[in-house]
């Protein structure tokens, strides 16, 4: 149990650092940037305390907001994603899902991909909507969400493959 806690704290700090130092400076075409730091919420242990995840996501978002000067957009998006994560599990892995058997940090299956895709799109949609804050910019929001989601998804999958524990 303790090792899981340490792994999570380590993941929190590493993802935040990599996001701030590298990915926040990637501005593909001037406005598309990936946000793979949400992998922390996605990879958080499935069977653990829900309020713990909510609080951790809140602080994750708050740190991101502090570093990217963005008010509370990241915080709101992270908290909402963390709260709806169990419903996404239910949707992606079917009703008869058993919490213990789901391992996201593994080879990509259609179920895992669905879960990743939905999480990323929900997070980005909320983030960019709050950022623009105007309904006249709806096309801009959708375009940003679409392009950034693709970018984030690719980088998330690469990170999962690079860090997955290898068994023989």
């Amino acid at each position: 149990m303790n090792s899981a806690l340490f792994v999570n704290i380590f993941r929190f700090i590493m993802l935040l650092a990599v996001q701030i130092i590298i990915f926040n400076n990637m501005n593909f075409l001037g406005f598309i940037s990936p946000y793979p730091y949400i992998l922390f919420i996605i990879l958080y242990p499935v069977n653990s305390n829900k309020s713990g995840l909510l609080a951790a996501s809140f602080f994750l978002g708050l740190c991101m907001d502090m570093f990217s000067n963005s008010g509370g957009f990241h915080t709101a998006a992270c908290v909402i994603l963390a709260y709806y994560r169990p419903y996404l599990f239910k949707f992606a892995f079917g009703l008869s899902y058993e919490y213990q058997t789901i391992k996201l940090n593994d080879v990509l299956t259609p179920e895992r991909f669905t879960f990743l895709l939905l999480s990323v799109v929900i997070h980005h949609l909320i983030l960019f909507t709050l950022e623009a804050f105007k309904f006249t910019l709806i096309l801009d929001i959708l375009l940003r969400t679409l392009l950034s989601s693709v970018f984030t998804l690719i980088i998330c999958i690469i990170i999962i493959y690079l860090t997955k524990p290898n068994r023989r």
Partner: protein, 275 residues
């Protein structure tokens, strides 16, 4: 009473979620007003310090371009110096434009964003160095933005690439003025709106800051006219201004302290009270 506790215990996750969501939405909505909260900005101790460390490393990669820019500025200053008419004659102080009344603080950009609608810079001088809210920030090429929040050693700057920023600007040759805004599209262009129909505008004309602003002194470079549109609803011109500055690549900046600012604001307040 028992039931209330039961309810709270049963729905603790939902209540926590609603509380945290409420806080974050409050922060989001507040951040869209002009003066934002001080807590969640990169001017605080933690994020400012981290950005300074990161910048210390990345600065090495840009030394060559920074050197080029400094060399160019030197060459320009030198040409001014050699072409000065007579160095022995007593120079007339230009008190009309108020240039000498401005102290300047030299600072360095340690973090820069330009990919959202509301972009901010972080610089490494703060209230201990005399930086206050609403001071103007320029560099050798033109204007950069306006100071937003300050902490002891850092400050955030509302970039001109921010849809909230509004700066008084005019045509250099004719004194017709308008307000400078950004439409959130391209990082190389800003928009000058509300320019009267009477103004004769040509492509390539220079746009400078206007004298109505208490933040910037008059005649600081902004950019050149690249396109102009005539707006039928308002009978005013809207101009696309190509910036002299490359806002994606900023190094050292100068912060302008206007001593007259408080006096002007007090005077204008007094006038409003009298009316």
């Amino acid at each position: 009473m028992q039931q209330i506790f039961n309810f709270i215990y049963k729905n603790s996750n939902r209540l926590l979620f609603l509380l945290l969501l409420g806080i974050s939405l409050f922060l989001s909505i507040q951040s869209h007003s002009y003066h934002r909260s001080k807590l969640i900005s990169s001017a605080n101790f933690l994020s400012g310090g981290v950005y300074e460390k990161i910048n210390n490393v990345s600065e090495y990669l840009n030394l060559r371009t920074q050197n080029d820019a400094l060399a160019q500025e030197n060459a320009k200053l030198r040409s001014l110096l050699f072409n000065a008419k007579d160095t022995s004659s007593i120079k007339k102080l230009d008190s009309l434009k108020g240039v000498n009344q401005n102290d300047i603080i030299v600072s360095k950009v340690i973090h820069n964003t330009f990919n959202t609608h509301e972009n901010y810079l972080t610089i490494n001088s703060g209230s201990l160095q005399g930086v206050k809210s609403d001071m103007g920030v320029i560099n050798s090429l033109g204007i950069v933005g306006i100071i937003d929040n300050t902490s002891n050693n850092y400050a955030t700057v509302i970039s001109i690439l921010n849809v909230k920023s509004q700066i008084n600007a005019k045509l250099k040759k004719s004194n017709h003025f308008g307000s400078l805004t950004w439409d959130g599209k391209s990082t190389g262009f800003v928009q000058l709106t509300d320019v009267p129909r009477l103004a004769s505008i040509r492509i390539g004309d220079t746009i400078v800051t206007g004298g109505q602003s208490v933040i910037f002194p008059e005649n600081i470079n902004i950019g050149t006219v690249s396109k102009r549109y005539y707006e039928n609803e308002t009978n005013y011109y809207k101009i696309d201004v190509k910036l002299f500055n490359d806002m994606t690549n900023l190094g050292h900046v100068y912060i302008i302290k206007s001593k007259n600012r408080d006096e002007i604001i007090n005077l204008e307040k007094k006038k409003e009270k009298d009316e």
